[in-house]
C-alpha cells in the first residue's frame, strides 16, 4: 500500500548532537500536537477493534432456557458459526457481485467525465463539474429514500419504464441499489481524478501533440497512466464502500420485500446484534473487517506489481 499512501518518504533522522537545543524544544511540542488525536484514536479505533476480537471469543451460556446468562470463553466457537453461516457467505458473494459490476461502471464513468472536463472540448466546465458533484451532498440514506420513491411505479416520473420493469423485484433490486450508489459517488470520484489531471504539467501534452498524438491517444497513453494513483485510491475506497453496504439495503427493506435482514454482511451484523447476540455479531464484524482489509490490500499489491513491471 506504500506506493500511494506513504507520500512523504521517511527522511533519515538528523545526526544526533546537531543543534541539541532545537531538538529539545521540538520534542516538547510534539505531545501537544499528537496526544489529543492519539488518545481519541486509541479509544475509538484501536480499543473497539480489540474489544470486538475479545468479545468474539466469548459465548453466552444459560443454564436451562430461561436461566441466568453468563459469558464463558468459547475460543473459536463464534467463528465456527460464522463460517458455517450460509446466509452470511451468500451476502458476501452478493456484495462482491455488486462491486464487480458497480465499481468499474462508476469509476469508468468518473474517468470519462474527468477526461472530458479536462479535454477542453466542452463549454461550461464549472457548471458540469458542480452538477455531477451535487449528489455527493445527499447522504446514502436520503439518496436511497429518494430513489426508492423514484422506482415506485405510481410516483416515478418515468412511469412507462417503472410500470414495465419492477426495479424493486428480487432480480433487480441489487442493481437498483447499485444505481443509487453510482449516482451519489460518480461526482466525487470524478473530482479526485480531475484534480489529478489538472496537476499534469501542460508541457507533457505539448510534447505529445508535436509528436502528432490526437486527443484520444493523449487520453489513453498519457493522461490515464498519469492519473493511475488517483484511480487506484478511488478503487480502494470503492471496495471498502461496497463491502460496507448498509444504508441503501436497510432503506430498501421498506420498499421491497426482496431485501432480507441478511441481505448484505453489514445488515447481518446489525440484525444479529439486535437479536441480541453480541458475541456472534462481533465475530461477523471481525470477519468482515478482515475481508475488507485483505481485498483492499490484495488489490493494492496487484496494481503495484503491474506498476513496477
Amino acid at each position: 500500500m506504500t506506493q500511494i499512501l506513504t507520500a512523504a518518504p521517511a527522511k533519515p533522522a538528523p545526526p544526533s548532537g546537531a543543534k541539541p537545543g532545537r531538538a529539545v524544544r521540538h520534542g516538547r511540542a510534539v505531545p501537544f500536537f499528537v496526544v489529543p488525536f492519539g488518545i481519541l484514536f486509541v479509544l475509538f479505533y484501536l480499543l473497539p477493534i480489540g474489544y470486538a476480537i475479545v468479545q468474539s471469543l466469548y459465548t453466552v451460556e444459560r443454564t436451562g432456557t430461561f436461566g441466568p446468562a453468563r459469558e464463558v470463553f468459547g475460543g473459536f466457537t463464534q467463528y465456527e458459526r460464522v463460517f458455517s453461516d450460509g446466509a452470511f457467505w451468500t451476502s458476501i458473494g452478493r456484495v462482491l457481485a455488486f462491486g464487480v459490476v458497480q465499481v468499474p461502471v462508476m469509476l469508468g464513468l468518473a474517468l470519462l467525465l474527468a477526461l472530458l472536463l479536462d479535454s477542453g472540448l466542452v463549454k461550461g466546465r464549472r457548471f458540469f463539474r458542480l452538477a455531477f458533484f451535487v449528489p455527493y451532498a445527499v447522504p446514502g440514506v436520503i439518496a436511497a429514500i429518494m430513489w426508492g420513491f423514484l422506482y415506485s411505479p405510481n410516483l416515478s416520473p418515468l412511469k412507462p419504464v417503472t410500470s414495465a420493469i419492477d426495479f424493486l423485484s428480487a432480480d433487480l433490486v441489487l442493481w437498483a441499489m447499485a444505481n443509487v450508489v453510482t449516482w451519489v459517488y460518480v461526482g466525487y470520484n470524478m473530482l479526485i481524478i480531475y484534480s489529478a489531471l489538472l496537476a499534469v504539467p501542460a508541457e507533457v501534452y505539448e510534447a505529445a501533440r508535436l509528436d502528432g498524438a490526437g486527443a484520444w491517444r493523449i487520453a489513453w497513453s498519457i493522461k490515464i497512466p498519469l492519473v493511475m494513483p488517483a484511480i487506484v485510491l478511488t478503487t480502494v475506497f470503492s471496495i471498502i464502500g461496497t463491502l460496507q453496504l448498509l444504508a441503501e439495503p436497510q432503506v430498501f427493506r421498506s420498499f421491497s420485500s426482496a431485501v432480507s435482514s441478511t441481505y448484505t454482511p453489514n445488515l447481518t451484523v446489525y440484525s444479529t446484534s439486535s437479536i441480541p447476540n453480541f458475541n456472534l455479531a462481533a465475530a461477523f464484524s471481525v470477519v468482515l473487517a478482515l475481508t475488507t482489509f485483505v481485498l483492499s490490500f490484495v488489490f493494492l499489491r496487484i496494481t503495484q506489481r503491474r506498476g513496477d513491471a
Binding site: A7, F33, L40, S119, P135, P139, I142, I145, A199
Partner: protein, 281 residues
Amino acid sequence: MNAPVLIKQRALPTLVMAVCTLYFLTPIWWLFVGASKNSDQFTSTNPLWFADFELFANIGDLFAYRDGVFLRWMLNSILYTGGAALLGTVLAAMCGYALAKYRFRGRELLFNVVLSGVLVPATALALPLFLMFSKVDATNTFWAVFLPSLVNPFGVYLARIYATAGVPDELLEAARIDGSGEIRTFFKVATRLMFPALVTIFLFHFVAVWNNFLLPLIMLSDERLFPVTLGLYTWNTQVNQIPELRGLVIIGALLSITPLVIAFLLLQRFWRNGLGAGAVK
C-alpha cells in the same frame, strides 16, 4: 482547426455531459418539485413539473409535526457533523503537521498505525463501540455519537501530505528565530498555509460523519437525539402505517440536503484546489 471540425469534435462530448447532467440532477429536481406540492397533487400531477406551489405551507407542516422534532434533528445534525468535523479537522491537522515537521521516536510507527486505520471500515467499529459505551452506561447519549466521530485517520494522512508539501521548513525556522513558539507557529503560520487543505479535510470529514448511518442507528434510541438522516429513515419505515409521513419525508429530504449543497457551492474554490493533492502526490 476550422470551425465545422471543431463543432463535430465537440458535439459528442457535449451530448455526454448533457445526458449525465440529466441523470444527476433529475432526482433532485423531482425532489424539489415534489416538495412543493400537496399530497393529492403529488400523485396526480406531472412529477417533474409544478402544480400549486405550496412549498412553504409544507415546510410549515413539517416544522409543526410532533412539536417540531424535525428542527431538533437538523440541529442535532449540525452539532454532530459540523462540530465533529471542525474539531476533528483541527486534531487531524495537528497530528499530521507533527508527523510532517518533527522527527520523534515512533513517528513512522504512529503514521503506519493511523494509515491502516484508513482501511478499517467504519461500520466494523460501530458495534464494538456500542458495547463499550454500554459498559459505561453511555449509549443513547449525544457523546456516544459525537466522540467517535472526531477521529479522522484519513485527515491525518492528508494533513501530513499538505504540511510536507505546503509548509516550507525555512519559514518555520524563520518563525523560530523570531522567537515564536512551536504551537504559536502552527496556529499563526502553518494553518494559514494549509488553509485550503484544511477546508478539504473538513469537507471529507463532514461528509463521512453526515453519511455515517450505522453508528447513530445502533447507539440511539431516543428520537430527540437523532440526526436528521436517522429521523427521516424512521419516518420512511412508517410510511405504510402513516401515509401523511410520505410528504414530510420528501420535504424533509429536500431541507436536509440544502445546507450541504450550499456549503459545496460556497467552499468550492477551496476543495477544488485541495481535493487532488491527496491522490496525486
